[in-house]
Amino acid sequence: MADNIQLLIDAPLLIVQLLLDGILIGAIFAVAAYGMALVWGVMNVINIVQGEYVMLGGFIAYQMTLWNLNPFLGVPVAALVLFVLGIGVYYAIIRRVVDKDMFISLLATFGLSILMQQLMNQIWGSQVRTAQSGLSTWFLFDYQVTVSQVKIVAFVGALLIGLLLILFLKRTRLGQAIRATAQNPRAARVLGIDTDRVFAATYGINAALCGAAGAFVVMAYSVHPYTGLPYTVRSFMIVIVAGLGNLPAVILAGLGLGASETMAGFILGVQFQVAFVFCLLVVILVFRNTMLGRKRRYLK
């Protein structure tokens, strides 16, 4: 560990490299996090299966390359497939737990995540998969910092998706209905909004966001059937830090998480990177709760 810190001091450009990598992946975290915030804010459900949707999106894009198609095609295709899947899951399961105690929906989505993990394992096998995008790599600072173009594309794509989502929520009728339901579902129902359909659409959009994020993940990084849960936890952390329904804060928190995670992964060693994510989750929760506790309140 001390060696790694010394290395960073000796070669400051390495810090630039790590921060760049972190920020680029952070935007993808932010997309999944915004989906989680949407479902949480509108339906009061914490969707544990989030990370598995991301992985599934990745596997769909990977499947595209197996069929000799461009993996970038996977972004819209994964979003579409997951939108349909999300709506199906909503009508089959989420709909029955949405008005119950939050622990029930937590456990139900956790069950779904276990189910999907092994289903993906059965379909695509337990190897780590990546999709070759065919883009090359830029070298900066005299070949000391490398940036693969696909990461830049993923970063820009993630920001574009965020922008589209804001426009959708602000401008369209469905977007308005979603925001109205988030504010007060009962009043929305009184005013003639079919909240059941709004919930279905929200859940579908969340799944689609995860799918698109996953398609970027498989091109820029890699996917594996059993590594979904870290993505869920990252989304959850970002939402806790940024709050519900604040997109710029979600993006900032996502970038910050990506950067700090990459730094920690380098300093502590890659085998501790996932441990860092989960420890950070606990630390953030305890910290938030302690700060609220000073005002005689608590996280609830």
Partner: protein
């Protein structure tokens, strides 16, 4: 059920349990695991059912016990049984200490935040153990061979885990009747009111978690020797199997009741042993489906459902309508 009937039932179960390893000698390993499952469900229910704090992270204490016992057996150079019991005891104590420290931090959160924080704790523990060379890192540890015939090994563990379950059951039966148990239920029903009545809710919650941690630590210490190996992600801190099973078994039987977790554990374990071998590679799909089905259609559990159906049998007075 009144007190006397319960005692008779408990005695019948105890006699059956004592005879079971001889009635079905081929299934001794599974019977030993059955009592482990009962222990899982009962200890989970102390905080999950009685206090209303649903933990996904109790498996941390189990894993701590497993590793503590394995390390003692590896490094102490004592004979098998001395090292085993010393390791179990040490595991239990470390688990209690960890529960006290973690509890004072995470138990201040309410509801689902607590659930997610403990989910994080469970996986963080697994990842940390998988990176720590002293305890074998990712490849885990093996535990020493049981002295004597292999059949006796399972017989020993059958009775060890049954004894432990019986102790925990009697302890909980007594505990839930005391002021302590009432305080836990008060916290579950309305924590703000309980606090306003002057209960030190933080102490009660942490104490409840520490009790669960102690017995999970003991259990873990022995399970390492039953399974013969300790793996950070698949046995010790197995959040996706043991960690979820605990919750599921307690809910299936009926959380917040004394007998519910026992019933749920027995049903779950027997079903699992009957079905699992036919579902090679699809176990988790089946588990996921079971979780969803139980949670969606049966959230009160068997005893919760029975209590609603026949309230007078559970000692509730029913007004004739």
């Amino acid at each position: 059920m009144n007190g006397r009937k319960q005692t008779v039932l408990a005695l019948v179960i105890a006699v059956t349990a004592l005879a079971l390893p001889f009635l079905a000698p081929d299934y001794r390993a599974q019977i030993a695991l059955l009592w482990v499952m009962v222990l899982f469900a009962m200890t989970w229910d102390i905080l999950g059912g009685q206090t209303g704090y649903n933990s996904f992270g109790n498996v941390v204490f189990f894993g701590i016990g497993m590793y503590a016992s394995a390390v003692v057996q590896r490094d102490s150079g004592l004979s098998y049984f001395v090292a085993l019991f010393l390791g179990m005891g040490l595991g239990g104590l470390i688990a209690v200490a960890v529960a006290a420290v973690l509890g004072s931090m995470v138990l201040r959160m309410r509801g689902h935040y607590f659930a997610i924080a403990t989910l994080g704790l469970g996986i963080a523990a697994a990842e940390l153990a998988a990176g720590w060379d002293y305890i074998g890192a990712g490849s885990g540890m093996t535990t020493p061979l049981f002295p004597g015939a292999p059949g006796n090994q399972y017989l020993f563990f059958c009775y060890l885990f049954f004894g432990l379950s019986a102790v925990v059951f009697c302890l909980l039966a007594w505990l839930y009747r005391t002021r302590f148990g009432l305080a836990l239920n008060a916290i579950r029903d309305n924590e703000d009111k309980a606090e306003a009545m002057g209960l030190r809710t933080g102490l009660y919650k942490t104490a409840a978690w520490m009790i669960a941690a102690f017995f999970l630590g003991l259990t873990g210490g022995a399970v390492g020797n039953l399974l013969r190996f300790v793996d950070p992600r698949d046995t010790a801190f197995a959040g996706a199997t043991y960690g979820v099973w605990m919750v599921l078994m307690a809910i299936l039987g009926g959380k917040g009741t004394l007998w519910g977790p026992v019933l749920g554990a027995v049903i779950f374990h027997v079903t699992q042993e009957l079905l699992w071998t036919h579902l090679l590679g699809w176990q988790r799909v089946a588990l996921g489906l079971i979780i969803v089905a139980i949670v969606v259609f049966f959230p009160q559990g068997l005893l919760g459902w029975a209590r609603e159906r026949w309230p007078e049998r559970f000692g509730h007075k029913v007004e004739a309508s």
